[in-house]
Symmetry: C2
Subunit: 405 residues, 2 copies
């Protein structure tokens, strides 16, 4: 390569470890003598179109390490989804800057962006090496054991439900926690890892992989409530009825859609409130509380899996190695090799882009409202070390004096 | 004292460190040879009425230490507020069990419970030593520098806003985070400690200590948005208009009230959604997201201030010492003696019970939408050690090639 210029960008929703990947790309690229300049595009592909580049070669390695430990996309992100015309604009800019390696850190939609850019480059005969580097808290990329960002978000969700369960045990009632995840229930299912004792919540877990019926939901909540005097429920924001209609849209008046045609599910507490109102009205339970975890679960500073940090760094490093020593464009994927150990592959972009992984049947209990031990084994090592643990008093009852009967 | 029996209970909303206080009481009481039995009442005063006692003398110190590090009331809690009749029931039970020391760990309402029980005991000529031990994430107890539980919740809020600000910087728009606190804005104000760089959010902080006007709110959000292209807002759930009407009640249809006559503000995302809808409709900003921190902020496992843990333990220990060596009922209070160091006092119950502290004027900026450096100095040491820190890239812009003008 003549120019020695590489470009890196971050797309889609931020994660707690996406800057580990950025640091992995930049620090690894610096080791290659043919790399002369490392550019970062601000706000994803939008920054390419706008020629909004920063020179990361001029960043200190010390500050890169500090940024690596900071959540959310340090270069900024975008929801833009390039079509063919958009990609032609991208080429114009890449060509003008003589950029020959393009690394795009992102999820589902971003992998499709990389696929299109790669195709356009081939059509135009422009020598561009395109590598998609995975990140998404949804864990919905095909071909990967899991995706960087998911473990830290899963840790947040598990810790949140561990605490919510303790709160609900102290002041009993029904608690509904709504978790991100449009099509894939992995993050909602992570709530199960907050459970320690058999009586602990979450007692019911509702995933987008299974059709949701409000009638069945009410029957199940009531049964748990009668048994334990309380009920903790984890609900995916993406739950839908048998016809595929999101439960949220039963409530929402104006459905906001993004550039990808997706209905806005996050950033509103409507689904939790709807479900709580149903429980109050139909089951006559007075103390019903709902929380929507919203943006906290993907950007909370200080709740991160060290395993996730390490792997997010490594996918960035490997992306550069695949680009420099390999012969193909592709998408970096994590492959599990032991309990617990991983290795990295470069998958063809076609195998990943635009596809959505959902939870495998073996991870969902027959009841449809819990996870299996296979899922617990799958997720536990990802959550990392030093998971906070909950303990309870071992009650020795005192004999009643007045009410002895 | 003849019986050597003491009773401890936990009331009101759980905190992350309320079990430190429980452990402090139990472990300190064990050092006194006149203490024969340490009972715990399950679910606060409700457990006394029901004679639902457990013998904490039979708990291991090892497990007590583990429970101390677990959030939420290990004995269970209650929202019951005893009137005179209720208190007569309490006496009947205490007398029957020959209990002579009563420790109640709780907030505002619980301190009033202790005051009434203490009065009833005096009227009845029953030798009962009553000590109220403070806890509340609202920090609204009169006579204390701050209350155990607040620092850990404040740490959660500061970390949450630090992350939300980074997320909002990556994908710009308006973000509204709603924080607990009916009358006192301390916890909402803690959001300011998540801010590092001058351009960081929260850019606007709305406290119940200042009247809220939707018109003024929209003007202020618009001004920040025009300046930074984004806006992060912290809002207390207790904001109200000039007439004292909660802003939430502009929206909510059925206002749920607890036994204390308080309207339910938590456990619903309605306020955040209302404010977001106003911004979308009136300012025409498309990307507007709201989160309601809800129960996460008081029970999240794994986000705790070590200073808070230490002090919560000490108020429990001091309560026992005040009871055993003192001559009066009272409420334990934290007094700041240095930067940073504290000591503990026993205040008369009348001085604390039923009173509500709100944020001092010196803590609120003249604009009414920010805190002062005095508040930052007040809060910073309480958050504890190892606060996660946010770093950003130092951008070196690359010269444009195509769009050079």
């Amino acid at each position: 390569m003549a120019s020695g210029k590489i470009l890196v960008a971050q797309g889609g929703g931020p994660t707690a470890v996406i800057n580990q990947t950025l640091a992995g790309v930049v620090l690894e690229a610096r080791r290659f003598r043919q790399v002369e300049r490392i550019y970062g595009a601000r706000h994803g592909v939008r920054g390419i179109i706008d020629e909004d580049f920063v020179d990361l070669t001029q960043e200190t390695s010390h500050n890169l390490e500090l940024v690596a430990n900071t959540p959310s996309s340090a270069l900024g992100s975008t929801r833009d989804k390039p079509d063919e015309k958009y990609c032609q604009e991208i080429f114009k800019v890449l060509r003008a800057h003589q950029i020959e390696h393009f690394f795009y850190i992102g999820g589902n939609d971003s992998s499709d962006t990389v696929r299109i850019v790669s195709l356009e480059a081939q059509k135009a005969g422009y020598p561009l090496r395109c590598i998609h580097i995975p990140k998404t808290i949804d864990n919905d990329l095909v071909g990967s054991d899991h995706t960087p960002g998911f473990p830290s978000a899963a840790r947040f969700v598990a810790q949140a439900f561990a605490g919510a369960n303790l709160d609900n045990a102290a002041l009993p009632g029904v608690y509904v926690g709504v978790v991100m995840g449009r099509h894939a229930g992995f993050l909602t299912a992570a709530s199960a890892l907050g459970k320690k004792f058999p009586e602990d919540g979450p007692h019911l877990i509702y995933l987008p992989e299974r059709d949701f019926s409000i009638e069945k939901f009410l029957i199940e909540v009531k049964a748990v409530y009668l048994r334990y005097g309380r009920c903790v429920v984890a609900v995916s924001e993406g739950i839908h009825d048998a016809s595929g209609t999101p439960i949220l849209s039963l409530l929402a008046k104006d459905l906001e859609r993004d550039a990808h045609g997706n209905v806005q599910l996050s950033g509103t507490g409507a689904l939790a409130d709807l479900l709580c109102e149903e429980i109050k009205a139909k089951l006559g339970i007075k103390r019903v509380r709902g929380d929507t975890f919203g943006y906290l679960q993907r950007s909370f500073i200080g709740c991160v899996s060290d395993v996730d940090q390490r792997e997010a760094r490594e996918v960035g490093e490997k992306a550069v190695q695949f680009a420099m020593w390999g012969k193909h464009d592709g998408s970096v994927a994590i492959r599990r090799t032991g309990f617990y150990s991983v290795d990295y592959d470069l998958l063809p972009l076609d195998a990943v882009a635009g596809k959505t992984r959902t939870m495998e049947d073996e991870f969902i209990s027959a009841s449809g409202t819990d996870v299996t031990d296979a899922f617990r084994m799958y997720l536990r090592p990802l959550l990392g070390s030093a998971m906070p643990d909950a303990f309870r008093l071992r009650f020795s009852p005192v004999e009643k004096v007045l009410k002895r009967t």
